[in-house]
């Protein structure tokens, strides 16, 4: 049984260092704190940041062939709409809206396990500069020597457990539609009505559907390159549980909300140009 002093210490640690693991049986954090801890534990912010930076980098190459000044303006608007703080804030709010105390408590408990600790640290590292560097190495090495089939199978079943394919398709569709619409507004040579945009997005969707699973699989194989197979199986087991399902759905919804709100901001500003 915990002493009063240790309970107090746990509470202080939770308050001061929300990312730090807490011992099982510590005081139940309130909603705001629970969401903050879950949000910090998942690499949502880092993954949103990466999307933002990737798109920004590609815009800088002026893929639509817009006049330089227009492309510069579009980049400026994009950076404003898709900045990490705004994306992160939207995702955080969305997660709060989906808060369910029982599931949240259960997730917090799970976050203290060695499996969660190990896998989450790999997920976080994946989005760091060193993680990006290591991705290239692992990707090349996997091309030369593909990972064992059982490893690939675990990753595929994890993708299924997280319903990750549908989530990714939806994310990409939100952003893609915004980009097509923006191009239509900004281009002097081409403009599309809503029906044409629907066609283009529809084509895009049919084009990516078949690829997403493979791409997700490749991505997760890189992300979990240094996680041992037993832990990866434990991780999959968690996502097959009701708590895991709630976390997976809540996270997806948070990301979609962040992208949709950013896309709306982006298009609104583009139309005002």
């Amino acid at each position: 049984m915990m002493t009063r002093a240790s309970q107090l210490l746990s509470a202080i640690l939770i308050l001061m260092m929300p990312c730090l693991s807490v011992a099982q049986g510590s005081v139940t954090p309130d909603k705001e704190e629970a969401i903050s801890r879950i949000f910090s534990a998942l690499p949502v912010e880092a993954s949103l940041n990466e999307v933002s930076k990737d798109l920004n980098q590609q815009f800088s190459q002026n893929p639509f062939g817009l006049p330089t000044d227009k492309n510069d303006q579009m980049m400026q608007i994009f950076r404003k709409a898709f900045n990490t703080d705004s994306l992160s804030e939207s995702a955080h709010h969305s997660l709060e809206k989906q808060y369910k105390p029982a599931f949240a408590d259960s997730v917090l408990e799970w976050l203290d396990t060695p499996t969660a600790d190990s896998v989450m640290s790999q997920e976080h590292e994946f989005y760091t500069i060193q993680g990006m560097r290591k991705r290239i190495i692992s990707k090349y090495e996997y091309e030369q020597n593909p990972p064992p089939e059982d490893r690939q199978e675990i990753v595929r079943s994890l993708i299924n457990a997280q319903n990750a394919v549908n989530s990714e398709v939806r994310s990409q569709t939100i952003i893609f539609r915004a980009l097509v619409s923006a191009f239509s507004v900004l281009s002097d040579q081409r403009s599309f009505n809503e029906s044409q945009i629907d066609d283009i997005v529809g084509n895009f969707n049919s084009r990516i559907q078949g690829q997403i699973e493979q791409e997700l699989s490749n991505q997760l194989l890189l992300m979990y390159h240094d996680v041992d197979t037993t832990m990866l199986k434990d991780y999959r087991t968690f996502y097959n549980s009701p708590t895991g399902q709630w976390l997976s759905d809540a996270r997806s919804e948070a990301v979609h909300t962040a992208f949709q709100e950013a896309a709306d901001r982006f298009l609104s500003d583009v139309r005002e140009l």
């Binding site: 815009f59 991705r135 090349y140 893609f176 097509v180």
Partner: protein, 562 residues
Amino acid sequence: MIKRLLILLTASLFLYSCSTTKQASQDSNQQETAEQQTQVPDSVDFATMLEPPQGWHQLDEERTRFRGISSDWAYQNLLNKKSPKKEVVVAVIDGGVDIQHEDLKNVIWVNKDEIPNNQKDDDQNGYVDDVHGWNFIGGPDGQNVNHDTFELTRIYRDLHQKFADTDTSSLSQKEQQKYAYYQQIKSDYGKEIRELQQQYNNIESLENSMKEANQILMEHFGTSSYSYEDVKNLQPDNQELMFAQNVMGYVMENDIDSTLIADQKKQIYEFAKYGYNPDFNPRTIVGDNYEDKTERHYGNNDVEGPDPSHGTHVAGIIAAQRNNGIGMNGIATNTKIMVVRTVPNGDERDKDVANAIRYAVDNGADVINMSFGKGYSPYKEEVDRAVQYADEHGVLMIHAAGNEAQNTDQKPSYPTDTYGSVLSDSSATLWLSVGASNWKPNEQFIANFSNYGDQTVDLFAPGVDIYSTMPDNQYKFQEGTSMAAPVVSGSAALIMAYYPQFTAQQIRELLINNVIRYPNQEVIVPNEGNPTESERKLFPQLSVSDGEINVYKALQAAEKMQ
């Protein structure tokens, strides 16, 4: 995953509006062809030529339309009744040279004061058994550094160890400045990693598109051996075929094949694994006291090293044995190559560069070829001292301007001829920085990768599709300012061999004052970004001398001067 969105968006829009694009594309091709035909009236069709003849860099423009340095013509018409009067020594500071190559073995410098393999420093120059040169990136046990980190990575690692967890509020003003520098370096390092990742993704996309396009075209033509003309003459009647035509047209025009893609991927992989890896440190192999930047004597005598491909190509351009009926001809005759291995796969270290220059000077080099460079030089004063040493000893230094498509007036590629304030505010006088030119005598005359600079790049020399020696008796086309610098080194050596009375300063002036200027040649200014948005300038605006090296003119001037 999101990263392919814009690529797909562009592709989707392209496919959606394919008929317009097709028309525009045809019009633009016709216009380009018409312009090029106007510019090139003679028989050489540069517009459709995919690869120049071997040795184009030694041709004479008036006779062949190729803007070479006219060395072939000089041998035929200026030097045919003369004999070289001096054996010239060119030090190749590089990654090593295959000294057994059939076209090089007779032109490798031999240190006559050293008895081979007796484990003694016979000439007492501080280097044991340095018969053909020295290796500053090898260890006493014979091991060699192959890969090394980039200088940016080394700086980042050192600063990161110091500042990553620093409480900035407690830093002194001086420390604050260092911290600000750390932030800048951290940002630069991150940018490089992101670009590396982007490059890998782009190559993957191209590889996938190539496979897809090839499959479509094989089905269309009913054979796998379709030609470039087949692809260009195709009249696509559907989007799929148009996609295939565009992709394979681009691939064939740029000589892209699966080997090139595999090589590019491997290079990026090695950059990620070694060059940008802050935890990678192969210096222990060398066994020197790395912190002591004044230490001179370390390394071993293995001048080939594990990967002598770059240095072998460079050496061949300068002095591959002429007229022996095999391979190719170097530019210079009566010239020996002193090999100073200093450059790993990664960035060379300032300490080794300084020692390599001093070694070359002390052991009799007349010219030092430096086909390497980097964006950061933390111990620049050590290199500056060595450069000054070479300058004072009358050794001509030829440096590749770099391949970053940048203006070096604004962003230097080290080493430079300008001394840091530790030494003085002056510059080396026996230095030539060389940009790369192309064999296409049109707006693409400057190589699209070459650095340039009206104040810092002295002249241009051929550096695209240069055919030269490769390890194991092979030959290959290579490109880079790394290839342009030895064109100048070979030219300098050629003049020195026939006119030994001239000082290095005079040789430098002969080269600089006898360039061909092409005053009306508009060129695309090299740019890392979108080529369609590149600035255009007159060729003379991009270098100090305003021109392209021509050894025939320089030799004519030398003849008059004597």
